[in-house]
């Protein structure tokens, strides 16, 4: 419990400190150089600039350097010709038709000139870029409410706090401001000495959770994003118990089980970080996600650690099952670059 409080306090202080730093950045923003974007239409696709989600508000496009555009377009051979258009370094000859998509360099902010000529936005999001996004690393605190009374074996509260890290990559971008990012991560949980079963001198629950996730986020404002997230993974859980009294016996149980989380939340980050191209900018922020975890219940079986010298067969009781499903809240502090 003390450890949990310290973790929460540390997180609280870290977030406050980060808040101050972000505020300072907001007060004096450093504008990254705006790359140029050129929109073309009706020309066979040969080269194209990197793409990101189109801004929700109309914005003008800026010409993009031909070399970079060609490189990006080569990585997207399947893009429909009507979506991405090569410029071949040619200057803009005519404004695009009203039904032409907007193509924006990944991690670039929209410019006024592009928006001025922006076509009518497509109703359905269309993928406009892939494999050219930002990398996101995060330190996460995932809190799962263990509403099962049996959890009181390990903790006096209902909450199970998992600390971990995750890394994500903005894999797919869609117009309309949507980005899909796969993630990989790990978290660790540890709880011990709850008020139930005081005849046990040791009650320890430890778990390692390895997961993959897909996060679909949408930029709401330059500093705010909303997202949905689907996570699946495996949990390695170990329970160690020991009796008390004159003879102390050790018991241990291991369990491997899949677990899934579905959640949605908000990202608050340093503003305008996406104006810079990948690798040239750094965004800091935090995520707040509420969701629900689904996982099979953990069987709490008393399995003797040592059985040497045992001549009579032993039937050990179990402590029932510990539900591992429940609502969860994930707090994360991340850096995206």
């Amino acid at each position: 419990m003390n450890m949990k409080f310290e973790i929460k306090s540390t997180l609280f202080l870290a977030v406050l400190a980060f808040s101050g730093a972000s505020h300072a950045q907001t007060a004096a923003p450093v504008e990254p150089p705006e790359p140029s974007v050129v929109l073309t239409d009706g020309v066979p696709s040969a080269v194209a600039p990197p793409a990101v989600a189109a801004p929700a508000s109309p914005a003008s496009a800026t010409p993009v350097p031909a070399e970079r555009a060609a490189t990006t377009a080569a990585a997207l051979p399947n893009d429909p010709p009507g979506v991405l258009a090569p410029t071949s370094g040619a200057p803009k000859a005519a404004p695009p038709p009203s039904n032409a998509p907007r193509v924006i360099a990944l991690n670039e902010a929209p410019s006024q000139s592009l928006d001025a000529d922006a076509p009518v936005k497509s109703k359905t999001p269309r993928m406009i870029s892939a494999f050219k996004g930002a990398v996101r690393t995060s330190f996460d605190v995932n809190t799962v409410w263990d509403l099962d009374d049996r959890y009181q074996l390990f903790d006096s509260s209902d909450v199970n706090v998992r600390m971990g890290v995750s890394v994500g990559y903005d894999l797919l971008s869609f117009d309309g401001g949507w980005v899909v990012a796969p993630e990989l991560g790990w978290s660790h949980e540890s709880a011990s000495d709850g008020p139930l079963a005081p005849q046990l001198s040791q009650k320890e629950l430890r778990g390692d959770h390895f997961f993959g996730a897909f996060r679909a986020r949408h930029t709401v404002a330059s500093w705010l994003e909303g997202f949905g997230r689907l996570q699946g993974g495996m949990a390695w859980t170990r329970v160690d118990l020991a009796s008390s009294g004159a003879s102390v016996d050790q018991y241990s149980t291991d369990d491997k089980a899949p677990e899934f989380q579905l959640g949605a939340g908000l990202v608050v980050r340093t503003p305008d970080a996406e104006r810079a191209p990948p690798g040239e900018s750094l965004a800091l922020g935090f995520t707040l996600e509420a969701g629900y975890q689904v996982a099979p219940a953990l069987k709490l079986k008393l399995e003797r650690v040592a059985t040497e010298g045992q001549r009579i067969s032993v039937l050990t009781s179990d402590l029932g099952t510990l539900s591992r499903s429940g609502p969860c809240l994930r707090l994360g502090v991340f850096a995206r670059f």
Binding site: S19, S22, Q199, D249, L302, Q310, R311, T316
Partner: protein, 536 residues
């Protein structure tokens, strides 16, 4: 201009909210268990610390799971409900709970527990700490013990609650609270009579013993006052009688009383009395007689049917035979002094007919005396036979299952000084010595298997002395994996088993198949159950 700090405050508030929303469950107290009890095929473990009982089923396939039953607050005492015969066994446990002084809804109570769970719970008016059952298990008197140190501001040591265990709880009639009149002293003990025929009705009486006063309560009519009988006038400096033994003659409706400091036997005759239309008056009256025994009277026993009803009294160097009708006293000189009497039905080496005989003995000595009670008033000491054995500290009757006349008639005398025991064949008057590495104080007679289980505390061994064949007494033993704490017999059940508990906070016990008692070393059918006290 937005304030980003406002947004950073969101997770911080949520993080704090997590702590606030997380609720703590009911805290469990450290467990503290009363000595375990056995129903016919269930073991009962009562956790005083957490007001619960665990019922471990030993009837069929063994599992290390015990059913948990909630009990009223603060269980302090538990007893197996008595019965006169296995066929009448109600298979219940009685649990006295002290309640919680600070919680108005948690009052002292008696809980009747069977293998299905709580059957009945009787609320009590006071925080009693002692209970006494009638031998047939029908009545229960709950009272204050002599050593009670109540945490209540006021309490009356003469207050008792009387429960008819065959009737459901009723706030007005069951239990009944009574205050026993005394002469300034609290009751010492309570003894129940067998059913007596009084005025054509079967009644049971409760005899409340003070130091030299007795009170008689009619348990059928608890609205009627009790009789209080002073056996000797209280005067300054006069020695107290120190009443310590009561016998009932259910044929003659007599009560015999003996005190450790009195040379006399006190006899109360219960005579009917006609009290028409007065339901609150007793319809019998006691009358007191006094029999001069002489010397220090140590023990007494009733035998014979009217008109041959006799009272046998152990009075040190003599045994007294008192004719219950004429009150004539015959003194029998004994070969050795005796202070205890054990009546038995059996044969003698000279007479091959079963009749009532007596074994007289004195703990701490190395002799016993057999008395053939037939014609003893004429034959006197010629009916006494002395048998010399090793010095002994305990005499454990090994009564075979009722009705089995062919079973050997034996007692076990636990040795003093020497470890081991002597098995005395009461019919043949022979002795078999069983040596042991341990004190056999832990011997537990097993009527069903006709033997004695020996489970010395904190040793890894359990032994069984099979006494079914007096010509072949071969002790068996088995070595367990853990030291013994308690031994419970379930040999009256269809599936005969023995449960040996071990020291473990989680609950650990080894179950031995008692049918295999002849070959205890076969451990393949033994099993250790572990973790059954962890609850659900």
């Amino acid at each position: 201009m937005f304030s980003i700090q406002r947004f950073f405050s969101i997770p911080c508030l949520l993080a704090l909210g997590v702590s606030a929303c997380s609720s703590s469950g009911a805290k469990e107290n450290p467990s503290s268990f009363l000595p375990p009890l056995g129903l016919v095929d269930h073991a009962v473990f009562i956790d005083q610390g957490n007001d619960r009982a665990f019922l471990l089923d030993l009837s069929g396939n063994l599992t290390p799971h015990a059913n948990q039953v909630r009990l009223p607050k603060a269980p302090i005492l538990a007893q197996r409900r008595l019965s006169l015969a296995p066929a009448e066994d109600p298979d219940e446990v009685l649990i006295l709970s002290a309640g919680d002084l600070d919680a108005t809804e948690s009052v002292p109570s008696i809980t009747v527990l069977n293998k299905q769970g709580v059957k009945w719970s009787y609320k009590l008016a006071a925080a009693f700490d002692s209970m006494v059952q009638s031998p047939n298990g029908r009545y229960l008197v709950v009272k204050f013990s002599q050593t009670n140190v109540s945490n209540r501001l006021l309490f009356n040591r003469n207050e008792v609650a009387i429960i008819d265990l065959t009737q459901e709880p009723n706030e007005l009639t069951n239990p009944v609270d009574r205050t026993i009149r005394g002469f300034g002293e609290p009751p010492e003990s309570i003894v129940f009579s067998p059913p007596l025929m009084i005025n054509g009705e079967e009644r049971q009486l409760a005899v409340v013993l003070f130091k030299q006063v007795v009170a008689l309560l009619d348990l059928k009519y608890l609205n009627r006052p009790e009789f209080t009988i002073e056996l000797a006038a209280s005067s300054v400096g006069a020695p107290s009688i120190n009443l310590e033994q009561v016998l009932f003659d259910d044929k003659e409706n007599k009560v015999y009383l003996r005190g450790s400091a009195s040379p006399d036997i006190y006899v109360i005759q219960i005579a009917p009395r006609d009290v028409p239309n007065e339901p609150n008056k007793n319809d019998f009256v006691p009358s007191l007689n006094q029999l001069g025994g002489g010397g220090q009277l140590k023990d007494m026993a009733l035998y014979g049917d009217a008109p041959e009803r006799r009272l046998l009294v152990a009075a040190g160097a003599n045994a007294l035979v008192i004719n219950a009708d004429s009150n004539r006293v015959t003194s029998i000189p004994l070969p050795v002094s005796a202070t205890k009497i054990l009546l038995f039905e059996g044969r003698s080496p000279q007479v091959d007919t079963r009749e009532t005989r007596a074994l007289l003995y004195s703990l701490g000595t190395s002799d016993v005396v057999f008395l053939d009670l037939a014609q003893i008033e004429d034959r006197k000491q010629r009916n006494a036979e002395r048998l010399k054995i090793n010095s002994y500290l305990d005499v454990i009757p090994l009564r075979p299952t009722a009705g089995d006349a062919s079973a050997p008639n034996q007692v076990m005398l636990r040795h003093a000084g020497l470890l081991g025991a002597s098995i005395v064949d009461l019919d043949k008057r022979t002795v078999n010595a069983v040596s042991s590495q341990v004190d056999l104080k832990a011997g537990t007679p097993d009527a069903a298997l006709n033997g004695v289980w020996v489970a010395p505390s904190y040793q890894n061994k359990v032994g069984f002395i099979d006494l079914s064949d007096p010509n072949k007494i071969q002790p068996k033993e088995v070595r367990l994996d853990y030291p013994v704490v308690d031994l419970l017999l379930f040999t009256q059940a269809a599936h005969k088993r023995v449960l040996v508990t071990h020291d473990s906070s989680l609950g650990r016990a080894t179950v031995l198949e008692a049918m295999e008692a002849t070959d205890l070393r076969d451990l393949t059918r033994a099993v250790t159950l572990e973790g059954f006290l962890l609850g659900e």
